[in-house]
C-alpha cells in the first residue's frame, strides 16, 4: 500500500508541473493581449482550434514535417490576427458587450464550419517528439518535457519582448495612455496589430502542440477558455509574470483535486478556491492597482 501511495504522490507532483506548463502555454497569447493592450479576445479558444487544424492538415494531408507545419500554422493564424484587429478590436475598442457579440459570431461561424467540414474520424497530429524518459520510478514522455520547455521559453521571450524591444515599450505606452502614445508619434494601429499577431501566433503554437498531445475536435477551444480566464485573473491584470504563478496554481489544483474528488466536483471546489483567493486579493496575485 505504501508503495502505491509514494507512486501516487510522485505522479501527482510530476503531473502538476507538466499541467502547469501546459496551461501557461495555453494562456500566454490571451494574457499577453489583455495585459498589454487591454483587449479581451473571447475568440482565443477558436483561434487555438484553427491553429491546431491548420497544423494537422499540413502535417497529415500535405505531409510535411510537423515542426514545419507548426510554423505555417503560426504564420497563417498570425495573419488572421491582423484581420481581427482591423475588423473586431479596432471598431469596438472599449465596448466589451459588442466585442462579445462579434466574437461569439466568429466562434459560431468557425466552429460550425470546421464541424461540418470534418468527417467523423479521430484526428491527431503526429507526435512532435517520441519516446519516454525514465528517471528512477518516474517515467515521463519526452513530448511533455518538450511542451514544458517550449512554454517556459515562450514566456521568457514574451517578457523580453515587452521589456527590451522598442515595439514592446510602445505597446505598454499605448496601454497606459492612448492619447499620450499618439502624441508621442506611436503608430497605435500598427502596435495593436502587432500585438494581435503575436497573441494569435501564440494561440496557434499552443493549439498545434495540443493537437498532437490530445486530439482535435471543433470544440477543443471552448473548454480551455475558462482555464485561460482563471489564469488571467489569478495572475493579475497588467502583469505577465503573474501568468507563471497562476498557471502553477491552476495546474497544481487540477492535478491534485481529482485524487480525492470525483469528476465534476473538482471544478466546483476549484472555482471556490479561486473565488476565495480573488476576494482577498481582488487585483490578483501580481496585479497592479485596480483602475476604476
Amino acid at each position: 500500500m505504501a508503495e502505491s501511495t509514494i507512486l501516487l504522490i510522485v505522479a501527482t507532483i510530476v503531473n502538476a508541473l507538466v499541467l502547469s506548463s501546459m496551461y501557461i502555454l495555453l494562456a500566454l497569447g490571451f494574457t499577453f493581449l489583455f495585459n498589454i493592450m487591454g483587449i479581451l479576445n473571447f475568440a482565443h479558444g477558436v483561434i487555438y482550434m484553427i491553429g491546431a487544424y491548420i497544423c494537422f492538415y499540413m502535417a497529415t494531408v500535405v505531409g510535411i514535417n510537423q515542426w514545419l507545419a507548426l510554423l505555417i500554422s503560426v504564420a497563417v493564424v498570425g495573419l488572421f490576427g491582423i484581420f481581427m484587429e482591423r475588423f473586431i478590436f479596432r471598431p469596438f475598442f472599449g465596448n466589451i458587450n459588442s466585442i462579445i457579440v462579434v466574437c461569439i459570431g466568429l466562434i459560431t461561424v468557425l466552429v460550425n464550419a470546421v464541424a461540418i467540414s470534418q468527417p467523423y474520424n479521430v484526428q491527431v497530429t503526429p507526435a512532435f517528439v517520441q519516446g519516454i524518459l525514465k528517471v528512477g520510478i518516474v517515467s515521463l514522455s519526452w513530448q511533455r518535457i518538450v511542451f514544458f520547455l517550449i512554454g517556459v521559453s515562450l514566456l521568457i521571450l514574451v517578457l523580453l519582448f515587452i521589456n527590451k524591444t522598442k515595439q514592446g515599450l510602445q505597446m505598454r505606452a499605448v496601454a497606459q495612455d492612448l492619447e499620450g502614445a499618439i502624441l508621442q508619434g506611436i503608430n497605435v494601429h500598427f502596435v495593436s496589430a502587432l500585438a494581435c499577431v503575436i497573441a494569435c501566433a501564440l494561440a496557434a503554437t499552443a493549439g498545434s502542440l495540443m493537437g498532437s498531445y490530445l486530439s482535435l475536435t471543433p470544440y477543443m477551444g471552448n473548454d480551455i477558455m475558462i482555464k485561460v480566464l482563471e489564469i488571467l485573473v489569478l495572475g493579475g491584470i497588467g502583469s505577465i509574470n503573474g501568468v507563471l504563478f497562476a498557471g502553477l496554481i491552476v495546474g497544481t489544483l487540477d492535478a491534485v483535486l481529482p485524487i480525492w474528488l470525483s469528476g465534476t466536483a473538482t471544478q466546483a471546489i476549484m472555482m471556490l478556491i479561486i473565488i476565495v483567493i480573488l476576494l482577498f486579493k481582488p487585483q490578483g496575485l501580481f496585479g497592479k492597482e485596480v483602475r476604476a
Binding site: 457579440v101 459570431g105 459560431t108 475558462i226 465534476t264 466536483a265 471544478q267 479561486i274 480573488l278 487585483q283
Partner: protein, 329 residues
C-alpha cells in the same frame, strides 16, 4: 417654469396615449397568438421566448448598475433545478416551488453579492463567471438528486394537460408582470441611483448613494426574476440539463441584450424575440442553422451599433433629413 412643466405634461400625455394604444395592440396580438397558430410546436417556441425575455430583461437590469453578471445563466439553472427538485423529490406543488425557486435564487444572489460588491467592473464579471461555472458544476455533482451531467427528467408540470395554450397565457401574464415590475424599478429612484453608480461610483457615493446597498439590490432583483424564469422553464419543459445553463448561455443572454439595445428597456425583449425566433425558422437547415444566427449578429452589430431599438430613431432622422433637404431645395 410652471408653463414649461405644463407643456411637457401635455406633450408627454399625448405620447402616452399613442404608447397606450400601441401597447394595447401589441398585447391583443400576443393574446391572439394561440388562435393564429394551432401547431403546438410554434407555441412551444413562443413560450420559451417568454422565459428568455424575463431572463434577458433581468440581466439588463443588473447591467444598468455597471455589473456584468456572467453567472446569470447559472442563476437561471439554479432556479430551474431548485424548482425541479422541490416539485419532483420533495413533492411540493409546482406553483409553490416556482416561487421558492425565485426566492432561493434571490437569496444566493444577495449572499454572493455582498463580498462581490467590492470587485469592480472586469473583476466582478470574471469572478461572477467563475461563480457561475462553479455553481453549475456543484449542481452537476449532486448525483442522483440532479441527475448529474445527463440532467433531470419527469419534472411535474404546472398544468395537468398536454395542451400548450394554458402555459402560453400563464407565462405571458408572468412575463408582462415581471416586465412591468422591472420597468417600474428602472424608472424609479433606485434605477437612477444604479445608473449613477454605473457612471461613477465615487461621485454617487459622495452624494450619499450607498454603492454596496444598491449593487446588492440590483443583483437581488435581477436574480429573483431569473430564478422565476428558471422555475417556469423547469416546470414547463419537463427535462433539464446543466448544459442549457452554462457560460455560453450567459454570453448569448448578453448578445440578446446588446443586439436589442443595451440603452433601452425594450432592448432585451426585442433582441430575444429576434435572435430566438428567427433562427428557429431556419432550423430545417440542420447543421447549417447556426450560421443564420451568426449572420444576424454580424449584420446588426456592424449596421446598428446601438442595437435594433435604434432603428426607428435612425429612420426618423433619415426622414427628417430628407424632408429638410427637399425643403431647402
Amino acid at each position: 417654469m410652471g408653463s414649461m412643466i405644463a407643456a411637457r405634461d401635455s406633450s408627454s400625455r399625448r405620447k402616452n396615449y399613442t404608447q397606450i394604444i400601441l401597447y394595447g395592440i401589441l398585447i391583443c396580438f400576443l393574446l391572439f397568438i394561440p388562435l393564429f397558430f394551432q401547431s403546438p410546436y410554434v407555441l412551444h417556441l413562443f413560450i420559451l421566448t417568454l422565459v428568455y425575455i424575463i431572463a434577458a430583461a433581468s440581466m439588463r437590469f443588473i447591467m444598468t448598475s455597471g455589473q456584468i453578471p456572467l453567472a446569470h445563466a447559472a442563476f437561471l439553472g439554479l432556479g430551474a433545478y431548485v424548482s425541479a427538485v422541490l416539485s419532483k423529490h420533495v413533492g411540493l406543488s409546482p406553483w409553490l416551488s416556482l416561487f421558492i425557486a425565485a426566492f432561493v435564487a434571490m437569496g444566493v444572489g444577495i449572499f454572493i453579492s455582498f463580498p462581490f460588491a467590492r470587485l469592480k467592473a472586469f473583476y466582478y464579471a470574471m469572478v461572477s463567471l467563475f461563480f457561475g461555472v462553479g455553481l453549475l458544476q456543484a449542481i452537476e455533482s449532486l448525483g442522483k438528486l440532479t441527475g448529474g451531467l445527463a440532467g433531470i427528467t419527469a419534472i411535474p408540470t404546472l398544468f395537468n394537460t398536454a395542451s400548450k395554450v394554458p402555459y402560453y397565457y400563464c407565462f405571458l401574464a408572468l412575463t408582462l408582470v415581471s416586465l412591468v415590475i422591472l420597468y417600474r424599478f428602472e424608472v424609479s429612484r433606485i434605477g437612477w441611483n444604479l445608473k449613477a453608480i454605473d457612471q461613477s461610483y465615487l461621485v454617487s457615493s459622495s452624494v450619499g448613494i450607498s454603492e454596496v446597498k444598491y449593487r446588492v439590490l440590483a443583483v437581488a432583483i435581477g436574480c429573483f426574476f431569473v430564478g422565476l424564469a428558471g422555475g417556469m422553464y423547469a416546470n414547463y419543459n419537463v427535462t433539464l440539463s446543466p448544459s442549457s445553463f452554462d457560460s455560453s448561455v450567459t454570453l448569448w443572454m448578453i448578445i440578446y441584450v446588446t443586439i436589442g439595445g443595451m440603452n433601452n428597456f425594450s432592448g432585451p425583449i426585442i433582441g430575444t424575440a429576434v435572435l430566438f425566433l428567427i433562427p428557429q425558422y431556419f432550423s430545417g437547415l440542420k447543421q447549417y442553422a447556426p450560421f443564420i444566427s451568426a449572420a444576424i449578429l454580424f449584420l446588426v452589430i456592424f449596421m446598428f451599433r446601438n442595437g435594433l431599438v435604434c432603428i426607428p430613431g435612425l429612420l426618423m432622422a433619415f426622414y427628417k433629413r430628407k424632408k429638410s433637404t427637399s425643403k431647402s431645395r
